[in-house]
């Protein structure tokens, strides 16, 4: 029983990692209707920038917010410079550009920073809360931060005019232009916000898994799965999906099928869920008119 509880809690901790990256994926999807494969690498790269700032002596929170700002700018720049030229190209061509971005970011980071792991500090205390051995303070704190970001995003999209404009620009660019929305800038803003969310994810994840260029590679599949299974256009779904994926992965791996088949089981679960609910649990079912 104790072992099960421990696995579930550990699953929640890893689930928090998946949830935070899934949030960034949902963010970019809501703004552009595209899934950005390079989201993980962008998060990783901006985390390295944060690491450099801290190594140079900057206090944690200053470096944190500066990194988030840098990530925002990076996202906007990438959208304007790299994505804008291929906007009219077939969707798959844009996917290839994302893949290229992934390769470039991964390779360049490895070249600049080498592959030795680096420690990234945590703003949370080192001793576990309530003296428990299951979840460190940082893991709890990271989950908390993810939930705060989720709340902020949800409120932004639901209740602010800017959020509404962004959603409109993604869903129906033509009509949005007609009502005066600057679609181009909405897209850039979307990228910037997604990159910022990604950098927060990276800085929360790095203290747990250690900072190295391949940090986000493995997370991407699970975050992708979490986002889709929870509903790609629903940030709440993505976060719930992340936790569910994390717990299931741990529990199944530890007690049911063993670690050697974890990925295959993930595959089966993904297909199973999508068969039953093709738009994900919380996703909105797309109705297309003939």
């Amino acid at each position: 029983m104790d072992a099960l509880l421990h696995q579930v809690l550990a699953g929640l901790a890893t689930g928090g990692i998946y949830a935070s990256l899934a949030l960034a994926l949902v963010m970019i999807y809501q703004a552009t209707h595209l899934v950005n494969f390079a989201q993980g690498e962008m998060a990783m790269f901006t985390t390295y920038i944060g690491w450099s700032l801290i190594e140079a002596g900057m206090p944690y929170w200053a470096a944190f917010f500066l990194t988030v700002a840098f990530a925002f700018v990076l996202g906007v720049v990438i959208e304007r410079v790299i994505i804008r030229p291929v906007e009219q190209a077939p969707v798959l061509a844009v996917v290839v550009v994302f893949i290229a971005l992934l390769l470039i970011l991964n390779s360049v980071t490895g070249w600049i920073y080498t592959y030795t792991i680096k420690t990234f500090p945590s703003p949370f205390p080192a001793q576990p809360l309530f003296g428990n051995r299951y979840l460190s303070s940082h893991e709890l704190g990271a989950i908390g931060v993810t939930l705060v970001v989720l709340f902020l995003l949800y409120a932004f999209f639901r209740f602010t005019p800017l959020g509404l404009a962004m959603r409109a620009a993604a869903q129906n660019p033509e009509s949005s232009r007609l009502v005066g929305i600057r679609v181009g800038w909405m897209l850039a803003l979307g990228w910037g916000l997604a990159a910022a969310v990604g950098s927060v994810a990276g800085m929360m994840v790095a203290p747990i898994v250690y900072l190295d260029p391949n940090m986000m590679g493995g997370v991407l599949l699970y975050a992708f799965a979490a986002a889709l299974v929870g509903g790609i256009d629903n940030p709440i779904g993505a976060v719930v999906g992340g936790f569910v994926v994390g717990v299931l992965e741990n529990v199944l791996g530890a007690f049911v099928i063993g670690n050697e088949l974890k990925l295959s089981v993930a595959l089966v679960i993904i297909i199973g869920v999508l068969l039953v609910k093709p738009s994900g649990f919380f996703g909105r079912v797309q109705v297309t008119r003939v």
């Binding site: 899934v35 290839v96 971005l101 470039i104 991964n106 390779s107 050697e260």
Partner: protein
């Protein structure tokens, strides 16, 4: 076919058949790999280019075909040429079966499911219960086939021609498929699937068939690849292979048969060029090349070629 196309075709055929005698064995080996990838990309193109179903996991079918060949040759001593149709048949069935649940999935969701397949494949190949067959992490070493009937060719040249012959068969098969009723049905499903169903096309059957046929092509490619490289191991078939296949068909040209060949040339040679340019960050250079190709030729190399030739004709 116009006279011009016929002449071009004959010249190309002549070049392709004499190449192994002009270039070194090593280059012949590389060209054999190009042919292998071209067959694999044609398979993926049937599914993704012509039928609109995105697959990020085709490396799994390539692996399946490769392991079929390796296991048949290693455990039961089946001659290499006999394993190719078996690999194709197995992948046809598995692809079709995978296509059935995939029917319910669209676009992104299908991409995720195939991505998961591509990620899970190496782990499955390493699974200890299957180790007796698959060789586990150590993989399986395959004997190099020698030319039959005492032909005056060395093994590399023979493999090249063998792959070329099978490639020709596959391409003709693909061409007939695409140009015929089935191909038109696939494209109809891709572009307007509701209208297609209304017109009497059995969407479910055709979509699953597309998966199966596409898997068959890629499986045959995998089998040929295994014979050429003479070794299979789980590390050869990771998710990066699936991603590279997707990049190949986009750069080569979606929904295009010659596009498969252009894409194969790209994925075989550009990483080597990138390596020559920068040892520190080879992937970054490869990524820059990818972006460059997509910017300059958003419809792929085949699309650009089509544009140039049609403009010339006008």
């Amino acid at each position: 076919m116009s006279k011009r196309t016929l002449v071009i075709g004959i010249v190309l055929l002549a070049v392709v058949c004499t190449l192994p005698f002009i270039v070194s064995n090593y280059r012949t080996f590389q060209l054999t790999l190009v042919l292998v990838y071209a067959i694999a990309l044609l398979g993926l193109n049937i599914l993704t280019g012509y039928n609109g179903q995105i697959s990020l996991g085709h490396g799994a079918f390539y692996a399946l075909g490769a392991y079929c060949t390796a296991i048949l040759m290693d455990h039961w001593g089946v001659p290499y040429w006999a394993t190719i149709p078996v690999a194709g048949a197995v992948c046809l069935v598995v692809g079709f079966l995978f296509g059935l649940p995939a029917l319910r999935l669209e676009g992104l969701y299908l991409a995720l499911a195939t991505f998961a397949l591509g990620v899970a494949m190496p782990q499955l190949l390493k699974y200890h219960l299957l180790e007796k067959w698959t060789g586990g992490v150590q993989g399986i070493v395959i004997m190099k086939p020698s030319p039959p009937f005492g032909l005056p060719l060395n093994p590399d040249q023979w493999l090249y021609f063998f792959t070329l012959a099978i490639g020709a068969v596959m391409f003709i098969l693909g061409y007939n498929l695409i140009r015929g009723r089935i191909g038109r049905a696939l494209v109809a499903i891709r572009d307007q699937h509701i209208a297609a169903e209304a017109m009497g096309i059995h969407n479910a059957l055709y979509k699953s068939l597309a998966f199966g046929v596409s898997a068959m092509f890629t499986g045959v490619a995998g089998a040929l690849g295994a014979v050429a490289v003479q070794f299979v191991a789980p590390d050869s078939f990771n998710i990066f292979l699936s991603i590279v296949f997707l990049v190949g068909i986009v750069v080569g040209g979606l929904a295009s048969i010659p596009g498969a060949l252009y894409g194969a040339l790209f994925i075989q040679f550009v990483p080597n060029i990138a390596d020559e340019i920068s040892k520190a960050a080879p992937w970054a250079i490869f990524g820059v090349f990818m972006i460059g190709f997509v910017y300059l030729m958003p419809t792929g190399v085949a699309g650009a070629v089509r544009l140039i030739t049609s403009r010339r004709r006008a």
